[in-house]
Every structure is written in structure tokens, then in C-alpha cells.
Symmetry: C2
Subunit: 259 residues, 2 copies
């Protein structure tokens, strides 16, 4: 329509045909190849949301459960929750401590400080030569994001941001959502303190978890099983530039009324 | 690039120039006019994410605080938390009960069953003839969503979904995010139970809060103060069709380890 104001717009692209990732793979290279296949070139301000699972696999984090001997605490916690003692052993190695335990439920604080079920450890059911495999989170998802960003910026010349995402359940609300557990090239929180909207209502919420919104948006494309869409390009989103870390999203225990 | 596979794509548009909403305004009509200004026509499968504030204003929910006489419980709770007793009175009228209280903090369970700060009541600081105003949530955001959807479908002929969103803080994580408090034309949860990804990892999270992901994505465009972008059109997103209600997202208290 001639003369109509262009609406603000954001576009999300799921990068196609990223192959199954193996230990030692170069995630940035896989992303560059997928971008090329899709006919997309990185632009300044783009955000790439990468699911933690491919980062973790590439970093060789997978653990063959047949090699795991459960400790006594793992065996006891497995008994109490009805979980596989070998899996619980891996979970405990990834954790600072147990937040809640019930039959079938183990909410942990990870070594990074994230609160989530099973310390974020995924489990494979493949009955293959590798046996059953557990896949913990990346050791330092912020560092992973920085490495991927550096490689993509060198290759493309574009200043971009990276979000490493994971899918977490939540208190109060059913259903999981994608959240940020690593960032690079952005600060995860947008500070709106003191701003009012145009009708004079003070913003109740003074900071917005922009990295979590980006991760959740990407979840609309990547959040399906068996589809192989672990990387989403978000173009046109406003986010606070800078050198932030996702761990800034962690609510300090003394300011958390619900842990 | 000729022959390249088209990447899966989602586009978000913030509808421009929606005027300040008054009690009695027709939100669906305002959306239709904004769509026309933007040169956009609704298509089957579109989702419109509408911030609760304009719905609430249109439904005449604003309360002039100069007319509010605090009850004794409101006065006591105001004393304990350092909040305005008149505002606390409005909050209590909107609530089933107090979940947590601290100096400056009042986490409530709303009459709808949402857990959020101040029962979702916004506050105006306008020093105008109307005096100070408090703005509660819509009485029934699912019903609001259904009304808006019915009007837009009649006008456009397109089968769409509506999400009414609000911005909430969260346990465990700093920063607020947009969440769904009303839906129409969709079920809020995507059930992925039993699915595995292509490398054989069972999905840890069996249901995805699709309505919350849609709301969070819209927050990337609408979540700024003073910009007047209360409606975001999301095109290309997959969501479970059906007649759902956002209250299905509420975790039953007996399944909530953190309330």
C-alpha cells in the first residue's frame, strides 16, 4: 500500500539441513554452511540462537552410561527418585546441589548456577554400539557462545550476537520454554527502569530478559523433535549490545523467594 | 540462490500507530485499522499477540485511586510492604491470596489463578484530572481473546489465533518476559510426549508452552516503553489449533514444588 508506514518487523529463519553433530565438529562452520545453503548472509545485528545440545555434542560432552559407576549418594538419590543410578551419577557431577526431589523429579542447581530438572542432562535411548548415552550441558555456555561468535564474525565481517538456548520447565506454569544459558555480543537484560509508557503507566517490570525472549522466539521454530533445526537466525530484533553473560540472568538466592 | 532449500520462516510485525485506548473502545476494530494502515491482511494461521493493558483499558477496568477506601487488611498489608494502601486494596480485590510478601514485594495469586507481582495491577502516575489510576488485568483474558478473535475472523474470513499477553517476573531468573494470560483459537500447550529427536535423545520436556513462546516473541517488538506497539502479528508459526484456554498453563498447586 503506497504511503503506508512500514511496520517494525522481525524475521526468524530456521537454518536447514544441519547434520547430526559429532564430538569435535566445528559448530560455527556447520552454521556457515547452513547459511550458505539457505542463501542467507549474516548482517549486523543478527542473532543466532543455537540449541545447547549441538554445542554440547560438538564439545564432546556425551557420557557413555555403561562406563559410569554410581557413587553411594547417586545410588541413594536414584532409589529415592526412581531414576537410573548411572544417570543420577552424571547429574550429580554436573551439580552444586539438589533443589527439590520427588518420585521421578530431580530439580538441581547446575555448576553454572542454573536451576533445572536433571541438571540439564539429556538422555539417549539409542540401542547402538555406543550404548546408552547421557548428554550434559556445555561446560561454559557463555564461553561456547563467544567462540561461535568470534568464528562467525571473522568469516562474515558482521557484528552479531549468539544465544545458546535450553528448554526448561518452570515453577507456576506448565510446559517448557526455550531460555538462554549462554550469550555473546549482547547483554541478556534490557534495563527499562524509570520509563513510563505513553499513557503514563510506570512499567511494573523494570528489566526485560531480552536473551530469554530471543531464545523463546527461536523455540517456535526449533522446539520440535526430530526435525534437525537446532539453529535459528533472528533478524531485526532490538537487543542491548555489549559483552554480557547469560549467568547475569540468574536471580541471586537472597533475592529469590522461590528456591 | 537458485535451488537452495527455503528455510522455515516466521515473521513478526508490530502494528503501527494504535492510538491510546479508552474505555469502551473496540480493540478488534483498532487492530483492523492498524492492519490496513500497515498494508497487512490477515491470513489463516496468523497469531495476534495483544498486550493485556489495551484490553483492560478498553474493558473499562481502570480504577481511580482517589475513590478507593482501603480496608483494614489492605492497610495492614500496605504497612508491611511499604505500598500505597489504596493500590493494595485494588490488588486484594483482584486476588485469591498472598503468595509472598516482603518490603516492596507482593506476589499474589490472582482471581484467574496467575501468580504474579501486585496481581498484575499496573499503576498510572499521570497527574491529570483523573488523578492516579490503577489498571487491573482483564476480568477473563481468555474470554477477551475469544471476543477479539470472533470479530477479526468475521471481518477477515481468516482463521487466526489470539494471545493476550502480560509481562511477568519469574522465580530463579532476573528480568521479566511476556507470557500468555489469554488465548483463543489455539491450545496453549504443544504435547511432544514420547517423541525423540533424530539422534535418539528423548525429549526431556514433554510439553512446550507454545502460547508463552508466542507471547515472548512478540515481546521483542512490544516490550519497550512509550512506543505504542501493543499488538504484534506473528505469521508462519506452528501452533496447536483448537479451542484452548490460557488457564491450562497454570501448574496445579499439588504439582508445583515452588509456591
Amino acid at each position: 500500500m503506497s504511503g503506508s508506514p512500514a511496520p517494525s518487523r522481525i524475521t526468524l529463519y530456521a537454518l536447514p539441513d544441519i547434520p547430526d553433530v559429532q564430538a569435535g565438529d566445528d559448530v560455527a562452520q556447520l552454521i556457515l554452511e547452513a547459511l550458505k545453503r539457505a542463501g542467507l548472509a549474516l548482517q549486523a545485528g543478527d542473532v543466532l540462537v543455537v540449541t545447547q545440545k549441538i554445542v554440547s555434542k560438538a564439545e564432546g560432552r556425551a557420557v557413555d552410561l555403561t562406563t559410569v559407576t554410581p557413587s553411594r549418594p547417586a545410588a541413594e538419590l536414584a532409589q529415592a527418585t526412581g531414576k537410573d543410578p548411572r544417570l543420577v551419577e552424571v547429574i550429580l557431577r554436573e551439580s552444586r546441589g539438589v533443589i527439590r526431589q520427588r518420585a521421578g523429579v530431580l530439580i538441581m542447581e547446575t555448576r553454572h548456577g542454573w536451576l533445572c530438572a536433571n541438571a540439564g542432562v539429556d538422555r539417549s535411548n539409542i540401542a547402538g554400539p555406543a550404548g546408552e548415552v547421557a548428554l550434559p550441558l556445555p561446560v561454559d555456555p557463555d564461553a561456547s557462545a563467544r567462540r561461535i561468535r568470534a568464528a562467525l564474525q571473522t568469516a562474515s565481517g558482521a557484528e552479531i550476537a549468539i544465544v545458546v538456548s535450553d528448554t526448561h520447565g518452570r515453577p507456576w506454569r506448565l510446559g517448557a520454554v526455550n531460555l538462554a544459558i549462554g550469550v555473546a555480543g549482547m547483554r541478556p537484560l534490557s534495563d527499562l527502569r524509570g520509563q513510563v509508557d505513553r499513557s503514563g503507566y510506570t512499567l511494573r517490570s523494570t528489566t526485560i530478559a531480552r536473551a530469554d525472549e530471543l531464545a523463546a522466539a527461536a523455540g517456535l521454530l526449533s522446539g520440535q523433535a526430530a526435525e534437525g533445526l537446532p539453529v535459528v537466525l533472528i533478524r531485526g530484533a532490538d537487543y542491548p549490545r555489549g559483552e554480557g553473560r547469560a549467568v547475569e540472568l540468574q536471580r541471586p538466592p537472597e533475592k529469590d523467594l522461590f528456591r
